[in-house]
Amino acid sequence: MLAALFSVLAAAANWVSPTVDYHALAPEIIVACGIVLVLLLDLFTSENNKWMLGPVTSFTLLGAFIPVLTLALSDAGTRSLFDDRYVVDNFSLTMKGLFVLAGYLVVLLSSDYLREGDFYEGEYWVLMLSSLLGMVMMASSRDLVSIFVSLEFLSIPAYMMAAWRKRDLRSNEAGVKYFLLGVFASALMLYGMSLLYGISNSTLLTDIGTYVSGDMSAIRAVAVLFVVVGFAFKISAVPFHTWAPDTYEGAPTPVTAFLSVASKAAGFVALLTVVYVGFPNASEVWQPVFWILAALTMTVGNVMALRQTNIVRMLAFSSISQGGFILMPLAIAGEGDSAGAALRAVVTYLLVYAATNLGVFAVVIAVARKTRSGSISSYGGLFSYAPGLAVIMTIFMASLAGIPPLGGWIGKFGSFQALVSAGTTWGYALAVIGAVNTVIAFGYYGNMMREMWMRPVPDGDTTPVVIPSALMVALGLTTFATLLLGILPGLVLHFGDLANLAGAFGG
């Protein structure tokens, strides 16, 4: 049928159909089929059978992971499609794997939450899969148009998901705020992109890379700046972070997990692609920007997180501050040979952060089932009645704080290593700022540990926490990943060796 469609199109516009590498597109195709399947099932099943939609979604995602694996293991190397506008290389495969698996974990987090909260289920899964499809596409996009389409594809469903608790004012606020600021950011970015197109007469990033170089005229600098700032909204870098705390707090908790991990990672992927492929020769423009963004994001995120009393709000600021740490290496990515080290650091950090942060939200969801409260003090005495959860949460908190031998440590270590490897004063200075922030961050991560271990149970209610099996699986997987990544980091650092992305512009 597809072939027939193509032939019609070709005849109509004298257009030659490109050869399509279906293996390379298999993850996207599977997710797209999953969207259709869930949509149809939702339409034609009775209310009693809606439970099957969650499993179908998760199998779709696990199914999409299979071609990611086969592609990674195949010897074909980098696969370029559509005039190099859509590239499947090690970098994109690593990120696709991250998105698909993170999506699977979010399904595990969501299923009981949705059923018990009496939310729309089918629509939720469709939107989530759509958003994930956008992210998976983002990982391969090497063209301004496909990047922008992917970005909107992943964002618009997320705006709706943020407002999923539709009778709750806060959730509505979350959705609207996220939407307005998201659209504002898209507009900024589009403006920058239009300038880029004007400069280079091409939307292909590699072409842009050859034009945005050498003498940086004001227009080029402005173009680069606007695109970077647009993505800075997406990754909630300070001072473009204001939407994040309100959105995270108001959205349903599984959606918050999704936003703070998958959506954020997608922002970073786009940023990396644009910077490494599009602006490799404009480092004098974006390096200082990233330096300031990273320093501000870490510091402001940390300081604000210290003052929070609501766990999700605290995690929102923690996630902002983690974003600052992830940004750090980009501040030196243009120095000498540091590009590879910086890329590896960012990718590794994203992987580790995804595992740990999803785990944190799994614990938050599990505990909230009993306490029905979002305040940090409701974690008081958790260790006395749910020692397993408390120990797991302690592992996650320690991992986010960067204490070895847990996953978060290897992420932080990679960032510091990349910074110091540049050997510049700016690099060292940012490393020291990062080091100080690591200590500040322990203030709130440690506070969580203190609540769980050292404080009394607030209302004396020590009935054990009942954890549904899906959540249990999510907790098990994330804990395992966090520990494994810390003790044997070689497993993921290998994925971070991504010469291809940097090699896309010939050095």
Binding site: R344, F416, V420, W453, G490
Partner: protein, 515 residues
């Protein structure tokens, strides 16, 4: 590096065995406290067994060489390997950590502090043991750092959960100070890595190549490490976490902290900072010496002002670690020997003093010196054990404390070539004054608590055999303390036992200075 022994599994087993014990403990129901304690103690004893096996297989004629060396790939992307080995400096500390863990566990058998939860308490001690032992055998900076940090969380929880009234404040302070130090230390390690060509984190490699780094860079890198290690020691002015942590920690935590954790800092200086960066070490030495003697005097004055026995012992730790650091700062073999001996001696003696403080607190429910009196009348054995430890702590010849303190002072008379003799001789005089003050505050402590008549509020409590009131040393205490007391005496009478294995290793450390 040549492998001197085929038993290179011994160190890894000795380090990670406790974690296996923790894993087993996870499957024991919380209610079965005796089983939990038994598994923990058996694990600790088995670990000590592996340690003693290491000791018997150790080639004492080659104490200066790394033995039981094992090296295998770990994080090859980061150029870091799993690399362990042990020599004459590591061996005593490695064994000390194992012995202390076993003794603390024996002591804890019926002394689990409030709020109970035996399982978690014993599990944390085992995790601590892995971190401590691992730090002393690591031959790779990243591995060292991982172990160095591994002890933080267990100790944080030990103070924060089982500690005294202000435990949360104290535990957080402990954690933030140490973490701040480690963060800067990590940056310094990374700078070192890149300045030596980004080839390896292995310590022998860095020792070989570190001397080639430019003088300025060395000074900066040393500065980063200095903060990391000095916080742990702790040196003045980074010491303020220590009195709080010690005072609030449960007895077991105080003992482990004093006996082993503080040594991680001094060990770092001896093993990493000084041999890798000899030029910077010379530049920094007078400043380290200065801070060391300030620590000695400040600690002593602090002791004189304390009204709480445990806080007093904590401040005395600051002073004693000052002597260790003074010995290190001379950069002479004499001073280093004294310093390493001082680490072990301080571990034994101060560990013992904290045990006593814990037992006194358990009996009198207070450690306020003004309320304690006449211990010798109420519990003579406890009183005399305390007297013995006080004497050892003030450096009485014939007991272990003397051999750490006296040579450290002497070594300052003739510091390494290139260091100002005048400066160090002034330090020597100040340190000597410190010993007088030490005798003063320790004897005064002993006099106020042990001599005289029991105060009215406690005089009626004696002769209660059921363990609730004031009673003399019990069986568990004897079992936990006897080995320490014996070691203090044996090392005091025959210090060569330790010096002869330390000295060759110290020569190795100082070879960077040409002898």
């Amino acid at each position: 590096m040549e492998v001197l022994s085929d038993n290179n599994w011994a160190l890894s087993v000795g380090t990670f065995l406790p974690l296996l014990g923790v894993l087993v403990m996870l499957f024991i129901p919380k209610a079965q406290e005796t089983a939990t304690k038994a598994v923990a103690l058996i694990t600790a004893v088995a670990t000590l067994g592996v340690g003693i096996f290491t000791l018997t297989q150790f080639n004492f004629d080659q104490a200066g060489k790394m033995q039981f060396v094992a090296q295998t790939n770990w994080i090859s992307v980061l150029k870091s390997t799993y690399f362990v080995g042990i020599d004459g400096i590591s061996l005593p500390l490695y064994l000390l950590s194992m012995v202390i863990t076993v003794l603390v566990m024996i002591y804890s058998w019926n002394h689990v502090p409030e709020p109970g939860n035996t399982k978690a308490f014993f599990a944390l001690m085992l995790i601590l043991q892995t971190g401590m032992a691992g730090t002393f055998i690591a031959r790779d900076l990243i591995l060292f750092f991982v172990f160095f940090e591994l002890v933080l969380l267990p100790m944080y929880f030990m103070i924060g959960v089982w500690g005294g009234e202000h435990r949360q404040y104290a535990s957080l302070k402990f954690f933030l100070y140490t973490m701040f130090g480690s963060a800067l230390m990590l940056v310094a390690f990374l700078a070192l890595f890149f300045k030596t060509g980004a080839e390896s984190f292995s310590i022998p490699f860095l020792i070989e190549n570190g001397a080639g780094i430019s003088r300025n860079a060395q000074i900066w890198i040393f500065g980063g490490m200095f903060v990391g290690f000095a916080v742990k020691v702790p040196m003045f002015p980074f010491h303020t976490w220590l009195p709080d942590a010690h005072t609030q920690a449960p007895t077991q935590g105080s003992v482990i902290l004093a006996a082993v954790l503080l040594k991680l800092g001094t060990y770092g200086f001896v093993r990493i900072a000084i041999p890798i960066l000899p030029v910077a070490a010379k530049e920094w030495a007078p400043w380290i010496g200065l801070l060391a003697v300030i620590g000695i005097i400040y600690g002593a004055l602090g002791c004189l002002a304390q009204t709480d026995m445990k806080r007093l012992i904590a401040f005395s730790s600051v002073a004693h670690m000052g002597f260790v650091m003074l010995g290190i700062s001379t950069l002479t073999s004499f001073g280093m020997n004294a310093a390493v001996f001082g680490m072990v001696a301080h571990g034994l003696i101060t560990g013992m003093l904290f045990f006593i403080a814990g037992s006194v607190k358990e009996r009198y429910h207070t450690l306020e010196i003004s309320r304690l009196s006449g211990m010798l009348k109420q519990m003579p054995r406890m009183g005399w054990i305390m007297g013995f430890c006080v004497m050892a702590s003030l450096g009485l010849p014939g007991l272990a404390g003397f051999w750490g303190e006296f040579p450290a002072i002497l070594s300052a008379y003739q510091p390494a070539a290139g260091l100002s003799e005048v400066t160090f001789r002034i330090f020597m005089v100040i340190a000597a004054v410190g010993t007088v003050l030490a005798a003063g505050y320790l004897l005064w402590l002993f006099q106020r608590t042990a001599f005289g008549e029991p105060t009215a509020e406690f005089s009626g409590d004696s002769h209660d055999d059921h363990g609730s009131g004031i009673h003399d040393v019990n069986v568990f205490e004897w079992m936990a303390w006897a080995p320490l007391l014996a070691a203090i005496l044996v090392l005091g009478v025959y210090p060569n036992l330790l010096f002869k294995i330390i000295d060759p290793a110290v020569q190795g450390v100082l070879s960077a200075f040409g002898g």
